[in-house]
């Protein structure tokens, strides 16, 4: 019979490293018979003997609840390996000992590879291997660091000894009370049965019968052991009647008690917490005074990256979609004879201008999601929540409330659902209410559009200000609610687990960035597409017969223009009382991305429709456009790198007295920023409504404040109704609309006093 050693262990304890180090290149990878679970075998040459090493699936236990557990247990029971090496994570001893206890209960020769002792040591944990061995009835314990091949010689020596002289460990603990008595009785009955006691360890089988292990019961039933099964059933009933607890739970509990006592006896935890690098960083970034300014600075950098670094790519996508793609589509439609039909207008002025107008902002979102993913993956975002916890409690909110709010930076809908983690219904409702003030990703295109149109290179500051304002309004609302409607007990501090810092992994950062960008793209392809088509129709239908005909009507005379025009006077005190802005805000109720799509259709679509007139492009201009797009893209990439580099001097220059020069790849003259068609039209429209260029800027800020504070979107409103009921939803709609209007009016009326 070949000598066989099985490797068992929890998932992620370095079992594969040990397996690879033991077997080298002598490996065979296949599947467990009849299963899709991978089976790895390898050869270990030890003192002129070949030992077959089998890597069992990673499991936390050896019960019958998962396929991995069944495979591991069946292998040990049926294949009778000469020894089992239990690979355990020394830095998480207690959790790993559960499996070890079960292996010892099976009375197979066990060797413990106390792996990852370096990590345990770095956390100040000391494990007395000798004592562990004694308390487990003499099981050999070897310290290893599998990924650095440390301790392997000692492990091989332990394997050699265990395979030369296999020793069955004795059960190091006894079950107490009625449970122990019933187990003893069943064990005696099994021992009396020669066939069963030849196949199974009697003690282990008695334990499994009391646990009502489904796999074991099935096998015994097939073997016709009805008397034993009946005795086990009665024993379980007696245990439950005497203790009020099922036998399986009692056995597991006594196992946990043994493991707890074992860990207490062998594990020396640091009396004073070890100061890790993470702790040192935390002393600064979660500092009572400096924590908040550092958090705000981090967010400021994020929005600088978002608005400025993405700007060159945004310009390129804008040019490509609104000029090149628009031109190609017009040429193609003309070539197939649809040049000046309503269908051509729908495709170009409806779909391309509407959906394309939103897709232009994909680079901005990619950079925002990437920056947030870096903060999350590095472990800093959890510190942000920790820092905000103090502020939240001061405002009367539970610290946990900040977590849904962080989710709200991405999307309000999951933020509303995330309030379920709060225990108190009042906190849940209030947090769901406040989460709507967090600037979701969909609002970002509006900020960037308005910011770059009116404030150029300083647009990052506007974006940052909007995000900050969202938090401030949420906190102020909480403060007001907690002292009036929701007066009650002061909130308890939130116990938060701060993960250790780590260098962000590019793969994880990209995965998170792409998942979020993808969800935006899916939305653009569904909701925004539909809204763009409907909006085009509403803009193509004249409001009254004398105003024109279908697809030949001035936008302000269309049905959409009529509806928007009726709402426009409401916004006059806020400085943007024109039908275009009012119309954008109306469609923005469906989804915030639609605000930009609507503006593009109103300002750009109409303009291009009158200019283009269905001019066909020649093949030569098609090639020229394609080459121009590629060259433009390369230039945009270079400028993106330049802007990314310039984040450093811009951040340093925040310190008074310092002026670090910025990098310029193309010279200042080359970098003159020009406004897009939409931005130009937007600036002209706002300036005209507000009365002057300076007042136009203030009106633009008031507009973004309104976008920030009013109803987030239809989906978020539906989520509010689903979670908190119709009354609460309508209260939220009414409150946010009123607050947004008041804030916008306040910004414009006060702001224009200073310009």
């Amino acid at each position: 019979m070949p000598i066989t050693v099985a490797l068992a262990g929890n998932p992620n304890v370095g079992k594969s490293s040990i397996f690879n180090a033991l077997t080298g290149s002598h490996q065979h990878v296949g599947n467990w018979p009849g299963k899709t679970v991978e089976k790895k075998e390898g050869r270990l040459r030890l003192n002129d003997r070949d030992i077959l090493v089998v890597d069992l699936p990673g499991t936390y236990s050896l019960t019958a609840y998962s396929i991995e557990e069944i495979i591991a247990r069946d292998y040990i029971l049926n294949e009778h390996p000469t020894a089992v090496v239990a690979v355990i994570d020394a830095s998480n001893l207690e959790r790993n000992l559960y499996l070890v206890a079960q292996l010892v209960e099976m009375q197979v020769p066990v060797i413990i590879a106390l792996n990852m002792v370096d990590i345990a040591a770095s956390r100040g944990l000391k494990i007395n291997g000798k004592r562990l061995s004694e308390l487990l009835g003499g099981v050999p314990v070897v310290e290893t660091v599998g990924n650095r091949s440390l301790g392997l010689d000692r492990l091989k020596e332990a394997i050699r000894q265990a395979t030369d002289h296999p020793v069955q460990p004795s059960l190091p603990y006894r079950f107490r009370g009625v449970l122990g008595a019933e187990m003893d009785a069943l064990e005696a009955q099994i021992r009396a049965d020669k066939q069963l006691s030849g196949e199974y360890r009697p003690r282990w089988l008695a334990m499994k019968l009391l646990e009502a292990d489904s796999a074991v019961l099935s096998v015994l039933e097939l073997q016709g052991a009805t008397e034993l099964l009946e005795a086990a059933r009665r024993a379980r009933e007696r245990v439950e009647a005497a203790t009020g607890e099922d036998a399986e739970t009692l056995i597991a509990d006594q196992r946990y008690t043994f493991i707890g006592d074992l860990a207490d006896a062998v594990l020396a935890r640091p009396s004073q917490a070890v100061v890790t690098t993470s702790d040192k960083i935390d002393r600064v970034v979660t500092h009572r005074v400096w924590g908040l300014p550092i958090f705000l600075l981090a967010m400021w950098v994020v929005f600088q990256i978002t608005a400025n670094v993405s700007a060159p790519l945004l310009d390129w996508v804008d040019g490509f979609v609104n000029e090149t793609l628009y031109g190609w589509a017009t040429a193609l439609l003309t070539a197939v004879g649809l040049g000046e039909t309503w269908l051509a207008a729908l495709v170009t002025d409806g779909v391309i201008v509407g959906v394309g107008g939103v897709l232009v902002f994909v680079p901005v979102l990619i950079f925002l999601y990437m920056a947030l993913a870096v903060l999350e993956d590095s472990g800093y975002m959890a510190r942000g929540a920790f820092v905000m916890d103090r502020v939240m409690r001061w405002m009367g909110l539970h610290g946990k409330s900040f977590l849904p709010m962080i989710v709200g930076f991405g999307c309000t809908v999951p933020a509303v659902y995330a309030t379920r983690t709060l225990e108190n219904e009042r906190d849940r409702k209030l947090t769901g209410f406040l989460a709507t003030f967090m600037s979701c990703g969909a609002r970002l295109p509006v900020y960037v559009l308005v910011g770059t149109a009116f404030f150029g290179a300083a647009s990052g500051n506007l974006v940052f200000a909007m995000y900050l304002l969202g938090i401030v309004v949420a906190l102020a609302t909480a403060f007001a609610f907690k002292r009036t409607v929701y007066k009650g007990k002061p909130p308890t501090p939130f116990v938060m687990e701060l993960p250790p810092y780590r260098i962000p992994r590019p793969r994880d950062v990209w995965r998170s960035t792409w998942a979020r960008t993808r969800s935006f793209l899916v939305k653009a392809g569904t909701i925004i597409f539909t809204v763009s088509v409907v909006l085009w129709l509403l803009m193509a239908i004249p409001a009254s017969p004398g105003k024109g005909s279908f697809n030949d009507v001035a936008p302000e005379d269309s049905v959409f223009g009529l509806i928007s025009g009726a709402a426009a006077p409401v916004f006059q005190p806020a400085g943007f009382g024109n039908w275009q802005a009012a119309g954008s805000l109306i469609t923005g109720f469906l989804a915030k991305e639609v605000v930009v799509a609507t503006m593009n259709q109103i300002y750009v679509g109409a303009e291009e429709a009158t200019e283009e007139g269905g001019e066909a492009e020649s093949a030569a201009s098609f090639v020229d456009d394609a080459i121009g797009s590629v060259v433009g893209f390369v230039r945009a990439l270079a400028l993106t790198v330049q802007e990314a580099i310039n984040i450093v001097p811009r951040t340093v220059n925040l310190i008074p007295g310092l002026e670090v020069p910025e990098v310029s790849f193309f010279g200042e003259a080359e970098e003159e920023e020009s406004l897009t068609a939409l931005q130009t039209a937007l600036v002209a429209s706002f300036n005209a409504t507000a009365g002057s260029a300076q007042a136009g800027k203030v009106a633009a800020v008031a507009f973004t404040v309104f976008v920030l504070l009013y109803v987030p979107c239809m989906s978020a409103t539906a989520a509010m109704r689903h979670e908190f009921g119709s009354r609460w939803m309508w209260a939220q709609v009414g409150f946010t609309l009123s607050l947004a209007w008041l804030a916008a009016v306040l910004v414009f009326q006060v702001g224009r006093l200073f310009v």
Binding site: I67, L93, G410, Y417, T421
Partner: protein
């Protein structure tokens, strides 16, 4: 009758009105998070508890599976649905890998 620690763990989740984090429960029971984690896994295997997943499909986008924006929530556990049964209750073989 004194409840076993293992049963106390389940009782805490049964009486909670929201998902609980391990650190919260560990503090309540006065045991280490590592010890509790192992005990919680016992109830998860038995189908009594489950890891709480916030909003798997929020409806605001067409994304299947977990929401792309929910990344910061700490790991919490809650009672499993009543109809949730333990995986492989009869030790039956399954063709899917990693069914935990």
């Amino acid at each position: 009758m004194q409840q076993s620690t293992l049963r106390q763990v389940l009782t805490i989740f049964e009486t909670a009105t929201a998902p609980l984090s391990l650190s919260q429960v560990a503090r309540e029971l006065g045991i280490s998070v590592e010890r509790l984690e192992s005990m919680v896994q016992y109830w998860v295997r038995k189908g009594k508890l489950k890891e709480s997943v916030v909003s798997t499909e929020c409806g605001s986008c067409g994304q299947k599976g977990s929401c792309a924006f929910v990344v910061e929530m700490p790991h919490t556990y809650e009672l499993a649905d009543d109809n949730l049964i333990p995986l492989y209750p009869h030790g039956a073989a399954c063709c899917h890998k990693g069914g935990k």
